[in-house]
């Protein structure tokens, strides 16, 4: 499904150049659950952003289902994200001025699909156990509920790939476990999940673990089931 070849990502500020990703090669097959681990600043989130096509690599090739994403313009990339990917962030990134239901609906807003909208939104909220909070605003919910809402938004469009950037980073143990169970369940239903995490126990939910250091992948190991 995903093939990264020699991906590099460098940031240049006034005085220094930072290499966030250095010669990264990675393949992810459909239906996999991959956990990316490593210390802060090792490039995990940059890799995830690159996989999510919200950041363009400085060099290297990125194929998704055999399609070279470098060939896509901004508009095509936006359509690609909307139709193919679901994002879950550490800080939830719900829009404060929209209700939970509206936030979830946002996951469909840019897909141009009007079919069964209401039913799909309701089903997504139901799946993560947040339906009873549909009319609330994000600030009225606990962190765990907000993250579940963010997951509902990510899955409402039935994406091929779910990208989760430290989805339990802002949650307590109990809520963290709940979120991981949901992600694991989604994977078992067939969704491909790539997750960045600091937690070894949460990484254990994944079938494969990738370790990063200084912008490089230093280890990749499948978990024995």
């Amino acid at each position: 499904m995903i093939r990264l070849e020699n991906i590099q990502r460098r940031y240049r500020s006034d005085e220094v150049e930072t290499t966030a990703l250095n010669d990264v090669n990675l393949e992810v097959a459909a239906g996999e659950f991959v956990a990316i681990m490593g210390p802060s600043g090792c490039g995990k989130s940059t890799l995830l952003n690159t996989l999510g096509a919200v950041d363009r690599p400085t060099a290297g090739r990125y194929w998704f289902d055999g399609r070279d994403l470098a060939a896509l313009d901004e508009k095509e990339l936006a359509r690609f994200r909307g139709q193919t990917l679901g994002f879950v962030f550490q800080s939830f990134n719900l829009i404060d001025d929209l209700t939970i239901e509206e936030n979830v609906a946002l996951g469909l807003a840019y897909r141009g699909e009007a079919r069964d909208r209401r039913a799909r939104i309701a089903a997504a909220m139901d799946k993560v156990g947040i339906a009873h909070r549909a009319r609330h605003f994000p600030f009225q919910l606990s962190g765990g509920q907000q993250q579940r809402a963010a997951i509902a938004r990510a899955i409402v469009g039935e994406p091929k790939l779910i990208l989760a950037d430290e989805p339990t980073g802002n949650l307590d143990t109990e809520n963290g476990q709940q979120v991981m169970s949901i992600l694991s369940g989604l994977n078992q239903e067939g969704a491909t999940v790539v997750m960045v995490t600091h937690s070894p126990s949460h990484a254990d939910f994944a079938r494969r673990r990738i370790d990063m250091l200084d912008g490089r992948i230093v280890a990749s190991a499948a978990r024995a089931i």
Partner: protein, 813 residues
């Protein structure tokens, strides 16, 4: 405010330069507009307040209310002998009269004549008005029929630096009289409608042009003022007038004249704002409109300040939290932020004063004014304004900022922006701003459309190629001299015809009014006479103006009965021409139906023709049913109109040459017809220009506000934009989202703007007899302009925000 607060303010202003420029600059422009328009309103409302006892002087106005309403209204003058009659019935009444005024007479010198603002007044005029004297003693002077009082400027003009007292000045109204200068009074200031620079005593013998009407009720040839110590006494006296009129006017107006005629007392200070007669209520409405523009522009600027200040509160949340942590209480913080607001407003006020001083020449040129900033008044007023605006604009942001909970703010990754309530307030303020801005745009469009309409509307005659010689009406141009002049004009090269009548293009609209009895028509029972304008015309009047002939014919010397020269022989049936409105007023079915009919009861008149309306008068004077009556000799107070081809300057030069040869002792007053008509439009043009300057600046300030708001809101929504882009939104989606968000207040603003502008415009247009339709185009057009301006204002932000890479936007806090 302590030192650190001042330092923080200074650094905040200098660090956020653009925000500071928008906030201070916007408010400064608002203050400048408010100042300039405030000065204008102050000037316009200060008329005659320079008189020491202005609160005790009342102008007697004649108020006519006839059943058909055409000529109903208040007239500024009174019957000439009214004061004497009043003093017979009410011995204690003090008053004075004035006859003449602007270009009221001439000064003869070295064989030439110069038109001056000459007026004849009662001897006690000077004491009644407490006219400030420079030299001499006014009251005693005018008791002597050979004495004259002159203004400081006239003294300088005719006597230079030598002492004018005792010198001779020959002044002519009816006939030249050599007066001895007995005193010099201060020049009449600009904020006065009293137009005189030479005062001579009203002669003991009634001047001949007024002799027959001196005690004739219903005439109004001069101005009468009365003085009462209090308003209550004036009103009490006014209440006695109906009985007095019924008693005194019975001969001229019949019994119960007070039912349709009244004498009112208008405080002299109100005469400029509520002028009587042709000026109608236009002046007052214009002043109110411009005053409102000034106040609302300032309001828009204050709204900007509040809007931007509350928007920025989030940026200072941490500062507030830290101040609270180190011990500042809420009151201290409110004081600090109010102090900041006042300092910022003071800075704006200073800049506003500078802008007003720089912009005043422009406003003076646009408005035909000569305003100057009276610093002694403006500086204290501005100081009060600073406190007022400072509190008004600073209070809400101060309250909002001081309310932040330090723990929550310091723990949060994100600065508060006032929450939903804050953004609703900002949106509400934007609605208010754009509501006013759209109303101003509509107002400007309507004003310009009407002023253009005034210029282009069909007057019933061709405006170009006319030369109006109004000095033919001077009393010293006796009939034989007038005939010589008219003949000489007719012989000038380029002249097509020379018409003469009591009116001409650009006349002020004071025509004779007659109640014409339509009873000479079969089958119509007479009720009340039809009030009609009566215009006496002489030779070639209709040929010169060429009105559309609707039926019958116009006057012709071949028909003896057309000539009404001996009009006092009332038994003779006279031929008249009527206008289109008279056809309706007299109850005829059509112009053709009117021709040949006799009207007028005891004064029979045969209608020989019907012409379309000739609109000589100011645009605020309603078209009236009128009849024209012909005299072979020039009518009384004739005005000559020359129809010519070629260069107007050449014709004017010819007229000047001819006049100098035949009537050198009378100053010539001549101008082209289109110039004279242009004078009617000047006041409205000036008002329209001032209004549009105010409106453009108000819209500009509103845009500055919207721009600032867009800048702030877009910055606050960077992360949201990132989320949306991550979820698949394209740049185009983001631009549409942001622009749509800013358009919402502009669209809602129409709900305020349209009705407000509609009622204001309808009220203003009601003053014009020939007015434009209030078409929806103005409303839609103004809204489209506002939308275009709003889109242009925010689209830059929207595009920039939409281009941000989502990964960067998501990291943005």
């Amino acid at each position: 405010m302590n030192r650190f607060a001042l330092i923080a303010l200074y650094r905040s202003l200098t660090r956020h330069k653009l925000y500071s420029a928008l906030n201070i600059g916007g408010l400064a422009v608002g203050i400048a507009v408010f100042l300039v328009l405030g000065l204008y309103v102050r000037f316009e409302t200060s008329f005659e307040t320079w008189l020491p006892h202005h609160d005790q002087i009342y102008q007697v106005t004649s108020s006519l209310h006839l059943p058909d309403g055409t000529f109903s209204g208040d007239y500024p003058g009174t019957m000439a002998g009214l004061l004497e009659e009043l003093q017979q019935d009410f011995p204690g009444v003090t008053g004075a009269r004035l006859r003449g005024g602007q270009n009221g007479g001439t000064v003869l010198r070295d064989g030439g004549a110069v038109a001056e603002d000459v007026a004849q007044v009662d001897p006690n005029f000077v004491t009644l008005f407490d006219l400030p004297m420079v030299q001499g003693e006014g009251r005693r002077a005018l008791a002597d029929p050979t004495s004259v009082l002159i203004s400081r400027s006239i003294a300088r003009k005719y006597f230079g630096t030598s002492d004018p007292i005792g010198q001779t000045l020959t002044v002519a109204m009816e006939a030249p009289v050599a007066y001895r200068v007995a005193g010099v009074f201060e020049d009449i200031p600009a904020n006065s409608d009293l137009r005189f620079s030479i005062l001579t005593p009203l002669p003991k013998t009634k001047p001949w042009p007024l002799e027959w009407m001196w005690n004739r009720w219903g005439t109004a040839p001069l101005i009468t003022w009365l003085r009462f110590p209090t308003l209550a006494e004036a009103r009490a006296f006014e209440r006695k007038m109906p009985a007095y009129i019924d008693r005194r006017a019975v001969n001229d107006m019949g019994p119960h004249a007070s039912k349709f005629f009244a004498l009112k007392l208008a405080p002299i200070t109100q005469m400029h704002l509520q002028p009587t007669g042709s000026e109608s209520a236009g002046t007052k409405l214009t002043i109110i409109a411009l005053g409102v523009v000034g106040v609302l522009t300032l309001l828009i600027a204050i709204v900007n300040y509040v809007s931007l200040a509350t928007a920025r509160t989030g940026l200072r949340a941490r500062e507030v939290a830290m101040r609270k942590v180190v011990g500042a209480d809420r009151a201290t913080l409110i004081r600090q932020f109010l102090g900041e607001a006042m300092l910022t407003v003071a800075l704006s006020a200073l800049l506003g004063l500078i802008l007003a001083e720089l912009g005043l020449p422009l406003a003076n040129a646009a408005g035909g004014l000569s305003l100057a900033i009276p610093y002694a008044v403006v500086v204290p007023a501005l100081a009060a304004l600073v406190v007022l605006i400072g509190v008004a604009a600073g209070f809400y942001p101060a309250l909002l900022l001081s309310r932040f909970q330090p723990a929550a703010v310091l723990a949060s990754a994100r600065g508060p922006g006032g929450g939903r309530a804050g953004s609703r307030l900002r949106e509400g303020l934007a609605v208010l701003q754009f509501g006013l801005a759209i109303a101003f745009i509509i107002g400007t469009m309507v004003l310009f459309a009407q002023t253009q309409h005034n210029r282009k509307t069909d007057l019933g005659f061709r405006r170009e190629g006319l030369m109006v010689v109004s000095s033919l009406a001077e009393t010293r141009i006796y009939p034989a001299l007038a005939r010589s002049l008219l003949d000489a004009f007719g012989r000038m090269p380029g002249v097509i015809s020379v018409g003469v009548a009591g009116v001409a293009a650009g006349s002020n609209g004071n025509t004779s009014v007659e109640s014409v009895d339509p009873s000479r028509r079969a089958g119509v029972a007479p009720t009340f006479g039809v009030t009609m304008g009566a215009i006496q015309v002489g030779h070639d009047f209709f040929r010169t103006y060429s009105p559309r002939l609707l039926a019958g014919r116009v006057f012709d010397d071949a028909h003896g009965a057309d000539d009404s020269t001996e009009w006092w022989k009332e038994h003779r049936t006279r031929n008249i021409v009527i206008n289109r409105l008279a056809v309706k007023a007299l109850g005829f079915r059509s112009p053709a139906d009117a021709v040949g009919k006799v009207i007028g009861g005891a004064m029979p008149r045969t209608i020989i023709g019907v012409v379309d309306q000739l609109r000589f008068f100011p645009p605020r004077i309603a078209d009236a049913p009128t009849y024209y009556q012909y005299t072979r000799d020039p009518p009384p107070y004739p005005i000559a109109t020359i129809r010519f081809s070629g260069d107007p300057r050449a014709i004017l030069e010819e007229v000047r040459k001819t006049w100098r040869q035949i009537a050198p002792e009378v100053p010539l007053r001549a101008d082209t017809g289109d110039h004279k008509l242009e004078e009617f439009y000047e006041a409205d043009d000036h008002a329209a220009r001032l209004f549009s300057i105010g409106a453009v600046l108000a819209v500009a300030i509103a845009c500055v506000g919207l721009w600032g708001l867009a800048s702030f809101n877009t910055a606050r929504r960077v992360k949201e934009i990132g989320i949306r882009k991550t979820l698949g939104a394209s740049s185009q989606d983001i631009v549409l989202l942001l622009v749509g968000q800013f358009l919402r207040p502009v669209l809602i603003a129409n709900l305020i703007a349209w009705p407000a502008a509609y009622f204001a415009a309808r009220q203003w247009l009601a003053g014009f007899s020939d007015r434009i339709e209030l078409s929806p185009f103005y409303f839609l057009g103004a809204s489209l302009i506002a939308i275009a301006i709003a889109v242009a204002t925010v689209v830059g932000h929207a595009i920039r925000a939409s281009r941000a890479a989502p990964a960067w936007a998501l990291r943005h806090e």
